[in-house]
Symmetry: C2
Subunit: 197 residues, 2 copies
């Protein structure tokens, strides 16, 4: 299979997914029709079905892009030097979310959809596992270096704390999506500082 053609295929799929994402943002996954995606992409029905076999395949690709985009350098989280404070760590996660999506509404839509769609559920579960593991690892190192805890103690505490840090990120997304007058900066600066250290 020629490399150029394969690259072309990937690019085209990506174009289509981006067009679909713009539609999904406005109308949600199920209420967006193929006709809208076709029109938004500037392509034709036949062309699109050459790259995807069904609408649900497009939904899955779009959700994957939404959910994974902001996690590029997650693995470096526990290796940063100097180590950021916990609240600073959460701030970084949220900033990544904002950089990658402009508005976190898309990710809340994915979560809602995942409640009834096994493929999306698996996708989200996988992401959350990675995210939680990374947070635990970071916290573990932080507790050791900052408070001199032994490794086992640091680990125990990290496992307890991690879900709350995860909630701080998820809560940001939910409140940003649903509060008309949500104050992003206040949340990021002052509210997050209330997290444990």
């Amino acid at each position: 299979m020629p490399k150029v053609s394969e690259q072309h295929r990937i690019d085209r799929r990506d174009e289509i997914v981006d067009a679909a994402l713009r539609c999904f943002r406005r109308k949600g996954f199920q209420s967006t029709s193929m006709a809208e995606i076709i029109s938004e992409s500037g392509l034709s029905a036949g062309a699109i079905y050459g790259y995807f076999t069904s609408k649900s395949e497009i939904i899955l690709a779009a959700a994957t892009k939404i959910v994974t985009g902001w996690l590029r350098d997650l693995d470096h989280l526990s290796q940063l030097d100097p180590m950021p404070e916990p609240s600073e760590m959460v701030r970084g996660l949220v900033r990544g979310l904002l950089d990658s999506l402009r508005s976190p509404a898309a990710i809340v839509q994915v979560w809602g959809e995942a409640a009834t769609d096994p493929a999306l559920l698996e996708l989200c579960a996988g992401i959350f596992d990675r995210l939680r593991d990374a947070i635990v690892l970071y916290l573990e190192r932080w507790q050791q270096s900052e408070h001199g805890l032994s490794q086992p103690d640091a680990h125990r505490l990290s496992v307890i704390q991690a879900p709350l840090f995860l909630s701080a990120v998820q809560g940001f997304a939910v409140q940003d999506t649903l509060f008309a007058d949500f104050d992003r900066e206040a949340y990021l600066t002052t509210s997050l500082n209330q997290l444990p250290r």
Copy 2:
């Protein structure tokens, strides 16, 4: 309008909404067809359209039930005596959620849908406003009685802290919905204790 007939109307609507809720939980709002709601309710199409004019009206009624059910005695939050600790307060909110819904997945579905549906957005925004106000009021009183802050200082701090407490509730719902191995009790007992006092 006769009282009995009016009560009958309310009861029937409620029956229909409950049937719809069971369907929505399985398939989501948009992917559930009227045929499924009709079958689940045991009624007929004609009967249902006598009580609701459209599917979206049923969705709105169902979402309203999901989103408001767990907030019955929210106003008493700041008047409890003795005052619960902040973490205990959050625990109470989450327990209310679990009592009212069994699984919080439904509420995550509503949030996702609200991202693209103005009527649901307004519904959720209203609820969150009430919830945040109640939390601020509670925290304000807690900071005064527990730490002896002046009313203005207590208010300032409460406004800063409230979004994070809200996140603790929202994060519970999201993680419970999406983590296969989410440990509810660990979150409620140990994790929540990490919240500021």
